[in-house]
């Protein structure tokens, strides 16, 4: 913290107001500069790329700026199925993660006693194994040669040709799994902050357990639920790893399309237009959702 060195003793007497006012800006300067150069500027650059068209020379990777906004419409029409699929998969995964995480977070916050910290570590711990390895592990566990399918086949619960992987079920399950801690931790944080006296007071006022839960616990945990659903939904909607590993060609999400447009087809304008449409759609949903749920805590 170089800035803190500047003012031992003397400068506090020399107009502390004015020098103090500059400190936060100086502290933020390098970090914000980094974000402007490597986050904001690339986004502007991507916006510029999205309206380009292929150069007349037909050389791979050569594009000229023609301000062709129809790129967006073309890309959206061509890939509307993948867009719809991305959002419906992400929504399903978010709801499933919420259903799994809320009771888990509740149990950790209120029912775990002195094991609270250990349980919290257990929720984060799977993160420390590479998520690609874990997703590939799911592919093998649920795969045609894996243990689950063999057991189900032996019990004649599924036919000899049915598989679990290479399906939309497997993709949604993978998405749910991969973003589960993002859902659990914020919900836990807001449940843990609830003053237990509020629940006792509710009991004193003759509310039963369920009513207390509905009228006291759930409303007070809403900031965590909002944060958790956003932290799950946003990465899930843009993900293409789960679809690539656990899915099949009919479960492709918009991330898979952007990826292949960029690397295999070298069609930067379409990839850029798709990226922007995805980001705009996500931001729109996020804004509506935050407004609706009435918490501004995140921003």
């Amino acid at each position: 913290m170089a800035i803190a060195h500047v003012s031992p003793g003397t400068s506090t007497h020399v107009n502390p107001e004015r020098s103090g006012r500059r400190i936060p800006y100086l502290l933020m300067l390098p970090g914000l500069l980094w974000l402007f150069i490597f986050f904001i500027y690339p986004l502007i650059n991507l916006a510029e790329t999205s309206t380009k068209t292929r150069a007349a020379s037909q050389e791979t990777g050569a594009f000229v700026q023609t301000y062709r906004f129809a790129n967006y419409l073309d890309a959206f029409i061509e890939y509307q199925d993948q867009f719809l699929r991305s959002f419906s998969y992400a929504l399903m995964a978010t709801l499933l993660a919420l259903a799994i995480s809320y009771p888990l977070a509740y149990a950790i916050a209120f029912k775990s006693g002195r094991y609270k910290n250990i349980l919290l570590i257990l929720v984060i711990a799977p993160f420390f194994t590479s998520f690609l390895l874990r997703t590939i592990a799911w592919k093998q566990i649920l795969g045609a040669e894996g243990p689950v399918v063999s057991v189900l086949r032996a019990l004649h619960l599924i036919g000899p040709d049915t598989t679990i992987t290479a399906s939309s079920f497997a993709v949604v399950m993978g998405l749910t799994y991969n973003f589960l801690p993002f859902m659990t931790l914020p919900i836990y944080a807001s449940l843990d902050r609830i003053d237990p006296r509020l629940m006792e007071a509710s009991g004193d006022l003759y509310a039963n357990g369920l009513t207390t839960f509905r009228k006291v616990t759930v409303p007070l945990s809403m900031p965590g639920v909002v944060a958790g659903t956003l932290l799950t939904f946003i990465p899930a909607a843009g993900d293409y790893i789960n679809a690539a590993i656990l899915g099949n060609p009919t479960t492709k999400m918009i991330g898979n399309v952007i990826d292949s447009r960029f690397f295999r087809i070298v069609d930067y304008p379409t990839a850029a237009a798709l990226s922007f449409t995805l980001m705009a759609a996500i931001l729109l949903l996020v804004i509506i959702y935050i407004r609706r749920s009435g918490t501004d805590e995140l921003v």
Binding site: A4, G31, L35, I108, I121, T129, A137, I141, L231, I241
Partner: protein, 263 residues
């Protein structure tokens, strides 16, 4: 029995959720001992060979080395830059505070693929060859926000009375910062650094866009997954899991030992 069941329903549910979380971790660990050679899909028998020779698979340790180097560099820079922003946001009221908060939130609300693609598009337009340093730049970029959020929470929860007390005891601003504020925020900074490192080490999407011909560990896993991931990758995944778990648990112990000494 049924009463016990209904009273403990939530605990049973939570245990099942934890088991679900750990199934693929356990699978990855178990298959690090699989005597399967290159195609680590079916169980072929127990062996310690993979653990004795984790670099046995071609290029795996080059990839691991790159991941560690990129992880350390980006953690270092992102933690410094992010901590400075966190102090500014947690400590000062200034114009532009809420727009700064928004700017910090945006990278976390942007899908990785959009960040990766936009950064690559910029590098392509500027004729920059992607490789090691472009990956570091990208990792610092997406880690900063997570550091800011983590450290800011710690700065905000600090009791201002402690700093007032230091000033009452004639500590100047610098002494107050070094002896009181900084040590109190340090656990938050350590947590942020651990988070940044694990985000960087595990990142695939942004890395895949901006790393050119450089291989990182997740990239190695991705490329080899087409033919079958070698068991050595499971060894490294398991080792990373155990090391990180050790660090977190050790941190917990140090934290609770300190708390006990105080009380």
């Amino acid at each position: 029995m049924s009463r016990w069941f209904s009273r403990n329903l939530i605990r049973i549910y939570a245990s099942l959720a934890l088991i679900y979380l750990f199934i693929p971790v356990g699978y990855t660990m178990a298959f690090s001992f699989n005597d399967a050679g290159k195609r680590n899909i079916n169980w072929q028998g127990f062996t310690l060979d993979n653990w004795k020779n984790p670099c046995g698979a071609p290029d795996i340790c080059v990839a691991l080395g790159n991941s560690l180097k990129i992880g350390f560099l980006s953690t270092l820079v992102a933690t410094i830059l992010g901590t400075m922003i966190a102090f500014a946001l947690g400590r000062y009221k200034f114009r532009g505070r809420s727009s700064t908060n928004l700017l910090i939130f945006l990278p976390m609300a942007t899908p990785e693929i959009v960040m990766g693609a936009s950064l690559l598009a910029m590098f392509v337009n500027l004729n920059v060859n992607t490789g090691f340093w472009t990956t570091v730049i990208a990792h610092i970029m997406f880690c900063i926000s997570f550091v800011v959020v983590t450290v800011k929470a710690r700065v905000a929860s600090l009791d201002p009375k402690l700093e007032e007390a230091a000033r009452d005891l004639y500590a100047n601003e610098y002494q107050t910062f070094r002896r009181v504020t900084f040590p109190l925020v340090l656990p938050g900074i350590a947590a942020a650094a651990l988070l940044a490192f694990s985000l960087s080490f595990d990142d695939f999407i942004i890395t895949n866009f901006n790393s050119g011909t450089i291989t990182t560990f997740p990239k190695f896993v991705w490329i080899s997954s087409i033919r079958g991931v070698p068991a050595q990758a499971n060894v490294i995944g398991t080792a990373m899991f155990l090391i990180a778990l050790f660090i977190v648990i050790a941190g917990q112990f140090i934290g609770s030992a300190k708390a006990k000494r105080k009380s």
